[in-house]
C-alpha cells in the first residue's frame, strides 16, 4: 500500500468515492440486517458497522508521521 501514501495526480470517480461508497453500502446493509433478522442479521450488523470503525483505527495506526 505504499502507492496509496503518495498524493494522487489523477482522480477518478472510483478512487475518490469508491471507498466511502463501499463502506456506506456496507453500513446500510448492517443497519437493516439486524432489523430484519435477530440471529445472523445481528452478527452481520456488528461486522458491517464495525468495519468502518476498525478501518479508521487501521488508517490511524499506519498514518504518515512528520
Amino acid at each position: 500500500m505504499t502507492a496509496a501514501r503518495k498524493p494522487r495526480t489523477s482522480a477518478s470517480w472510483r478512487t475518490v468515492y469508491g471507498g466511502p461508497l463501499l463502506l456506506g453500502v456496507l453500513s446500510i446493509a448492517g443497519l437493516l440486517s439486524a432489523l430484519f433478522s435477530e440471529g445472523a442479521g445481528r452478527y452481520f450488523s456488528w461486522l458491517a458497522l464495525g468495519a468502518p470503525v476498525a478501518l479508521t483505527a487501521w488508517f490511524f495506526a499506519r498514518r504518515r508521521r512528520g
Binding site: A11, T15, V16, P20, G24, T56, G66
Partner: protein
C-alpha cells in the same frame, strides 16, 4: 469546511485541462461550500448537544438498571398465573390517588413487568405523566420507571425542555445536519481528489484536522444520514399522530361521533381478550385509555405487536368500545406511522445487542469529532483569510 477561495483554484500540476475543469467547477464548489459551511455552522451547537446527550442515551437501559430506575419483577415459579389487569389497574390507581390511567404497557423484554402510566387527566401534559412498574404475577408495585439522570438527558435530547416547539426546532437542526452531510459528500471530491482514502497527515494541526474531518466524515456518512433522518422523522411523531387521528382514526370512530365519553369503563381483561381474538398471533404492546392522545374519547385502543424484530415495531390498533369492551374496528396503521415506528430503532441503535450499542457509541464519538473539527477548520480558515488578505498571499485550496 475548508472552503477557501475555490474560484481562484488553478492547479499547476496537470496543465490546461485541469485549469479548465477548475474554472468550470469553481462556482459550483463555492456554492456547495457556502451550503456546507452555513448548514453546519447554524446547527453545530445543537448537533453537539444531540451527539453528547445521545451518547449516554444509547446505554440508557443499562444505566437505568445500574442506578435502580429499571425495576425488576420478583422471580416466580414457572407456570405461576398472572394477576388480572383489572387488579393491576386498581392497584395503580390506589397508588396514585386522584390520578387517572392513560396507558398500560407490556414490557417486551421483561414479560413479568407491566407499566402503568398515570396523569391528572387522560389528556394531561405528557411531562406530568408518571410511569410505575407492577409485577404481572403479584400486582405489587415495583417502583417508578424512567426517572433519574437519564430523563434529563432524554429531555435535553428530545426537546431541550421546550416542549413541542423545542422538538420541532431540533428537527430543523437535524435537517440542516442532513444538508451538511450531503454538501460534504459533494465537496469531498474537490477537497480530497488528490489524496487516497484514509490519508492522515500531521504536517500541521490544520492539515491533521482537515484529514480527520474528511476521513471520519466519509466513514460515518451512511450511519449519520440514517440516524439524522430517523431523528428528524421522530420529531414529527406528534404531527403524524394528529394526522392519523384527524383522518384514519376519525373514520374508524365515525359511528360514535357526538356520543359522550364512557362513564363506566369496561373490564380491561374482557377488552384485552377481545382485542387478542381480533388480532390472532399478536401480543398486546399497550392499551390507550379513552380520551388519551392515542385513541378517541370513546374507545380503548389496544395496540398489538408481532414477535419478530420488525413486526414487533409494526403496531396494529384495535379499537374497542370504552363501555362495553366490544371491538369497533381494527386497521393497520398508515404508511407514515409505520415508517415512524420502523425508523425508531434505527435512531436508538437498541436493536442489535450490546456490540451494536458500542459501535453506535463509537460512530457517535466520530460524528462529534467531525462536527468539532469542522468548527475548528472554519475558525482557522477565517483567521487565515484575514491575515492572508493583509499579506496578499494565496488562500487554501480545495484540492489540498
Amino acid at each position: 469546511m475548508v472552503t477557501g477561495a475555490a474560484s481562484r483554484r488553478v492547479s499547476p500540476t496537470n496543465g490546461s485541462a485541469d485549469a479548465r475543469e477548475a474554472a468550470l467547477k469553481a462556482r459550483t464548489v463555492r456554492i456547495w461550500s457556502v451550503v456546507h459551511t452555513w448548514s453546519s455552522l447554524i446547527s453545530t451547537l445543537f448537533l453537539l448537544l444531540l451527539c453528547i446527550t445521545g451518547l449516554p442515551l444509547i446505554f440508557h437501559h443499562e444505566i437505568d438498571e445500574l442506578l435502580g430506575y429499571d425495576p425488576k419483577p420478583e422471580i416466580v415459579q414457572p407456570g405461576t398465573a398472572k394477576r388480572s389487569i383489572d387488579e393491576i389497574a386498581r392497584t395503580a390507581l390506589a397508588h396514585d390517588p386522584g390520578r387517572v390511567l392513560q396507558y398500560i404497557l407490556w414490557d417486551k423484554d421483561e414479560p413479568g413487568t407491566i407499566i402503568a402510566f398515570t396523569n391528572s387527566k387522560v389528556d394531561g401534559d405528557p411531562d406530568a405523566t408518571t410511569l410505575r412498574a407492577y409485577d404481572a404475577h403479584t400486582a405489587k408495585p415495583l417502583g417508578s420507571v424512567g426517572g433519574g439522570p437519564m430523563l434529563i438527558f432524554l429531555k435535553l435530547h428530545v426537546d431541550m425542555f421546550a416542549g413541542q416547539p423545542g422538538k420541532l426546532f431540533l428537527g430543523a437542526m437535524g435537517f440542516l445536519f442532513l444538508i451538511a452531510i450531503i454538501s460534504g459528500v459533494v465537496l469531498y471530491w474537490p477537497f480530497t481528489r488528490r489524496l487516497s482514502f484514509g490519508t492522515l497527515r500531521d504536517k500541521s494541526r490544520r492539515i491533521a484536522w482537515f484529514d480527520w474531518h474528511n476521513l471520519l466524515g466519509a466513514i460515518t456518512i451512511a450511519w449519520a444520514l440514517v440516524v439524522g433522518a430517523t431523528g428528524v422523522i421522530n420529531t414529527l411523531a406528534e404531527v403524524m399522530l394528529n394526522q392519523w387521528k384527524a383522518n384514519e382514526l376519525a373514520d374508524m370512530v365515525k359511528p360514535y361521533a357526538g356520543k359522550p365519553p364512557p362513564v363506566h369503563l369496561a373490564s380491561l381483561d374482557t377488552t384485552l381478550d377481545k382485542a387478542r381474538k381480533t388480532a390472532p398471533g399478536m401480543n398486546v404492546s399497550f392499551v390507550a385509555f379513552p380520551g388519551t392522545p392515542f385513541t378517541s374519547s370513546h374507545h380503548f385502543a389496544v395496540f398489538m405487536r408481532g414477535d419478530t424484530p420488525l413486526t414487533s415495531r409494526l403496531l396494529k390498533p384495535v379499537l374497542l368500545d370504552g363501555e362495553t369492551g366490544e371491538v369497533s374496528d381494527a386497521r393497520d396503521l398508515p404508511v407514515y406511522l409505520k415508517a415512524l415506528l420502523v425508523s425508531q430503532p434505527l435512531h436508538f441503535g437498541d436493536y442489535g445487542g450490546m456490540p451494536l450499542k458500542i459501535i453506535w457509541a463509537l460512530l457517535d464519538v466520530m460524528t462529534i469529532v467531525v462536527i468539532g473539527s469542522g468548527l475548528y477548520l472554519w475558525i482557522v480558515k477565517r483567521r487565515k483569510h484575514r491575515s492572508h488578505a493583509i499579506a496578499g498571499q494565496p488562500l487554501l485550496q480545495p484540492s489540498e
